[in-house]
């Protein structure tokens, strides 16, 4: 199997486990090890453990350089990383794939419990309370 396909298979597996509730993502502050020495910003950082490995999943906002217009601009990317116990990123995904965006959406839905929240807000019986 091609290395890119192995990464996609891992991402899909994490997505499936997240969707089925077999792994839980937690919202945390972004580790200092990732941001130290940069102006970058991480608006949402989630982490989980699976088979003894710690995973970090986050949106990374950073400045890129536009050579044509000779200026910096803000952009973002989604990253799945394997972290050690001191939150250092041992490995990161290096491409933006639809599978990765889907995993991010699933994990974000799970940590926000948006489905449960909407059900609760739309529950008519609870309106009187």
């Amino acid at each position: 199997m091609h290395p890119e396909e192995k990464v996609t298979a891992l991402i899909v597996k994490l997505n499936k486990l997240s969707s089925l509730g077999q792994i839980k993502w937690e919202v945390r502050d972004a580790p200092r090890a990732i941001l130290r020495g940069t102006d970058d910003y991480i608006p949402l950082f989630m982490s989980t453990s699976y088979k003894g490995q710690r995973f970090g999943l986050f949106e990374h906002r950073y400045q890129a350089y536009d050579g044509e217009h000779e200026r910096f601009y803000w952009t973002n990317r989604i990253i799945l990383a394997i972290l050690d116990w001191e939150d250092r990123a041992l490995w990161e995904t290096n491409s933006q794939t639809p599978a990765l965006f889907d995993l991010f959406e699933t994990a974000r839905k799970k940590v926000s419990n948006i489905d449960g929240l909407l059900d609760e807000l739309l529950d008519e019986e609870g309106d009187e309370a």
Partner: protein, 147 residues
């Protein structure tokens, strides 16, 4: 009537005609290949984009499986059609692998008449196959930039 040209010129003419035929055949093959390459470069990014959208919609549906089975069926059907249109642009093992997945998706979309199909794992396998196809097509599209 005796020929004006000597026999060896006629032999040379026959030989050159044959070489000309081979060059024409090779040129036609190359034109077809270049045409397919241009078509792939123009079409593959759109197919990948559409396939990605279908995959993401399926991902959303999988979160509440099996409550939106019919919607899932239409996304799988569209994915199978998109893959079918990508197959002529592929060669070798990529074509074989994606052809198998295309057949699997096409038959999966037909199998929805059985209410127990696909179960959660089978539905996730289909989603996984779509993502695998997107990865392969993305690599093919990147390689084409260097042709």
């Amino acid at each position: 009537m005796a020929s004006f040209f000597p026999q060896w010129t006629q032999d040379l003419n026959t030989g050159l005609s044959f070489v000309g035929f081979l060059i024409t055949a090779y040129t036609l093959y190359e034109v077809k290949r270049i045409k397919a390459s241009f078509l792939a470069r123009a079409r593959l990014p759109d197919i990948i984009k559409e396939l990605s959208k279908n995959g993401s919609s399926l991902n959303t549906i999988l979160g509440t499986w099996p409550s939106q089975r019919n919607e899932a069926r239409s996304h799988i059907k569209v994915s199978a059609t998109l893959l079918k249109s990508a197959l002529p642009m592929l060669t070798g093992t990529d074509k074989k692998e994606l052809s198998k997945i295309q057949e699997k998706l096409a038959s999966a979309s037909k199998g929805f008449s059985d209410p127990s199909y696909p179960n959660t794992n089978e539905a996730w396998d289909i989603y996984s196959d779509i993502q695998s196809c997107i990865t392969t097509l993305t690599q093919v599209s990147k390689n084409m930039k260097w042709e």
